[in-house]
């Protein structure tokens, strides 16, 4: 294999690992969006808070890693239920703008409170995953990346089974399809909403824990969630498979742009590429790859 090709494959594979993270974050967004028509701008803050919580559970309380992850998930789920009850329930039926702004308000509130509580220092997570890289024919992969890819697969499979076969999953799909009909069929829409927020926050917590493993923990973690926006737009706002494919695509594109264009234009291309893609997708195909084209009636 020549070096040019190896470089390309290397970029694509680490792009897939990054894309898996985006996909996980995007699924968190899409879950809420599909069922409740709310885009939760505070998702990034949940990711950041979960990373901090997991860090403190491991370092201050000396819990084993897996127990800490489990506890973080439970805390995040409770946070989701509380947020839905306190902030979003009063906004039911309000115009899109008001609901979007409430979540933006929530997001900057949570972020600055995190700054006040946890400080602005960079914390390094004592990662349980060994740091030695794995080599496969010239391609280098860190074990964290492999874990990310594997766990994303597991999480997504769990979601698939949950939505396909469980009673609650069916209720959620019904609610997403048509709230009024779901209500008439005896589904408690309020309960479904609360649970959807909990599930989405738990997904965010899982991605937060992984981010903590590959990055330093600081307030900047919230911006990773904003970089996942392009993924949901590319996949179509209301489609879970779309979110996954969009996430992978954005991860790969971002890595390739970083690898090839950084030397040409200068640093930082990697961070801004997702947004350029987002802008392009919105211009060309606003409903994304798998989204439904909305038909409006007066």
């Amino acid at each position: 294999m020549n070096t040019g090709f190896t470089f390309f494959v290397q970029l694509v594979i680490s792009g897939i690992a990054l894309g898996c993270l985006y996909a996980l974050i995007a699924v968190g967004f899409v879950l809420i969006l599909k069922a409740t028509d709310i885009l939760n701008f505070a998702q990034g803050e949940v990711i950041m808070l979960s990373a901090f919580i997991c860090y403190f559970l491991v370092t201050t309380f000396h819990l084993p890693f897996l127990v800490a992850v489990l506890l973080t998930g439970i805390i995040a789920g409770l946070m989701g239920i509380v947020t839905e009850r306190l902030v979003l329930r009063p906004m039911l039926g309000e115009p899109v703008f008001a609901v979007v702004m409430v979540t933006i308000g929530l997001s900057i509130f949570l972020r600055s409170m995190a700054g006040i509580l946890f400080g602005h220092n960079n914390l390094v997570f004592p990662s349980p995953i060994p740091t030695e890289a794995v080599r496969m024919g010239g391609i280098v992969l860190s074990q964290t990346e492999i874990w990310i890819i594997l766990s994303t697969l597991v999480v997504i499979t769990i979601f698939f089974i949950f939505f396909k076969y469980s009673r609650m999953g069916l209720a959620m799909r019904g609610t997403a399809d048509d709230q009024d009909v779901a209500l008439l069929m005896g589904i408690s829409v309020k309960q479904v909403f609360a649970l959807i927020w909990a599930v989405s926050f738990i997904t965010a917590a899982v991605s937060g824990v992984f981010l903590a493993n590959i990055m330093v923990i600081n307030l900047g973690l919230t911006f990773v969630a904003i970089s996942a926006f392009p993924a949901i737009i590319l996949g179509g706002l209301e489609s879970i498979p779309g979110a996954i494919i969009g996430g992978l695509a954005i991860g790969i594109i971002e890595n390739l742009a970083g690898g090839y264009l950084d030397q040409v234009i200068g640093g930082g291309v990697k961070d801004v590429t997702p947004f350029v893609v987002l802008f392009l997708v919105l211009m060309i195909r606003p409903y994304g790859l798998f989204g439904k084209k909305e038909i409006e009636r007066v």
Binding site: V100, S107, I116, L282
Partner: protein, 350 residues
């Protein structure tokens, strides 16, 4: 004279008059007089706060025209503001261009950027528009930081003093009158705009865009116009900001600034000129209250000394946005109208 229970209007002209009653006119006159003498007696810091509020008012008016009146969400207002500020800073510091070219140039450049964003955004609405404008904001921030040869990147640019016909406005007290006059002009222009066909078309688009189109309002034309006018206001405000701060830096123009402007129009009142002014002043001075509160609390609990920082202000903005949207969606101007009606209809208030 009997007690005035309602203002009865007999023609459409009276309905859209700028000053609806003689009372409004006289109150505004009195208010302007107070503003005129304020620099003679006020503390310089208060004057500085008023200056900053003036700039915020102009920018908030622009955002309110786009978001409050036309109903197009913009999460990238800071980008237009930044374009205006950088335009003024660059051409006035490099080429010694006088302000009466700088400011209009900033406005026009920002308006062009508004057209650039507005035209592709015509197909988008709601969430999609929010994301598109937000990503525009991110891209502008990136360009400002990276395009070092023009914007001087993270080193920032110093801006020369504003020179008004050979008379340098080198202190806040001198800038004060200049800003008050410009703000008054901006307010009158916005109010007038809303009385015309254009303003009514904007409101029609906000209330139901498809119905508006059926009625003969060209969505393309008016949406693009709303984007251009809104970013023109932001550009002017940005130019003034550069003059007042005398130094600009990419950190002044982040996503948080966009959110801050949104907070202004939400707290003040969406779709209300008066609301934009209330909101801009309120959001500008609220950090002072928080600072005062922090100092007061320090006296009570010495343990929290030095814990105050910018984070508290931002937390307060977030909290205010949530509280107003949940409990008082009409904002401060809604509260104001309610109080006014209460007094007007006294003793038969309900």
């Amino acid at each position: 004279m009997a007690i005035r229970s309602k203002t009865f209007r007999e023609s459409y002209y009276e309905d859209i008059k700028l000053f609806k009653t003689i009372w409004i006119k006289s109150w505004i006159g009195l208010f302007l007089m107070v503003l005129a003498v304020l620099p003679l007696i006020g503390d310089p810091y208060i004057i500085y706060l008023i200056n900053i509020s003036c700039i915020a008012t102009i920018a908030a008016l622009g955002l309110n025209i786009l978001t409050g009146f036309t109903g197009q969400i913009s999460l990238g207002h800071a980008a237009f503001f930044a374009i205006g500020a950088y335009c003024t800073a660059i051409i006035s510091s490099r080429f010694q261009v006088p302000f009466w070219i700088c400011l209009p140039a900033s406005g026009v450049l920002a308006a062009c950027a508004g057209l650039f964003v507005g035209i592709p955004c015509l197909r988008l609405k709601g969430l999609y528009l929010a994301m598109a404008t937000m990503s525009f904001g991110v891209v502008v921030e990136y360009v400002v930081i990276t395009w070092d040869s023009v914007t001087k990147g993270v080193r920032g640019i110093s801006v020369p003093t504003l020179n008004l016909l050979g008379y340098p406005l080198d202190s806040n007290n001198k800038l004060y009158y200049f800003l008050i006059v410009l703000t008054a002009l901006a307010i009158i222009a916005a109010t007038n705009l809303m009385r015309t066909r254009v303003g009514r078309a904007f409101i029609a688009i906000r209330d139901r865009d498809i119905a508006a189109e059926v009625m003969g309002v060209s969505l393309t034309q008016y949406k693009v116009m709303a984007f251009a006018i809104s970013s023109f206001y932001a550009g002017i405000a940005g130019g003034l900001y550069a003059y007042v701060m005398e130094y600009i830096h990419p950190e002044h123009f982040t996503f948080l600034l966009s959110v801050q402007y949104l907070a202004m129009i939400i707290v003040g009142g969406l779709g209300s000129i008066l609301g934009s002014i209330f909101g801009a002043v309120f959001i500008t001075i609220i950090p002072e209250f928080i600072k005062g509160l922090a100092q007061f609390l320090t006296l009570l609990f010495p343990a929290i000394e030095d814990k105050y920082d910018d984070g508290w202000n931002i937390a307060a903005f977030g909290l205010l946005i949530m509280l107003f949207l949940i409990f008082e969606p009409k904002g401060l101007s809604g509260i104001w109208t309610r109080i006014k009606t209460c007094f007007k209809n006294w003793p038969y208030t309900y």
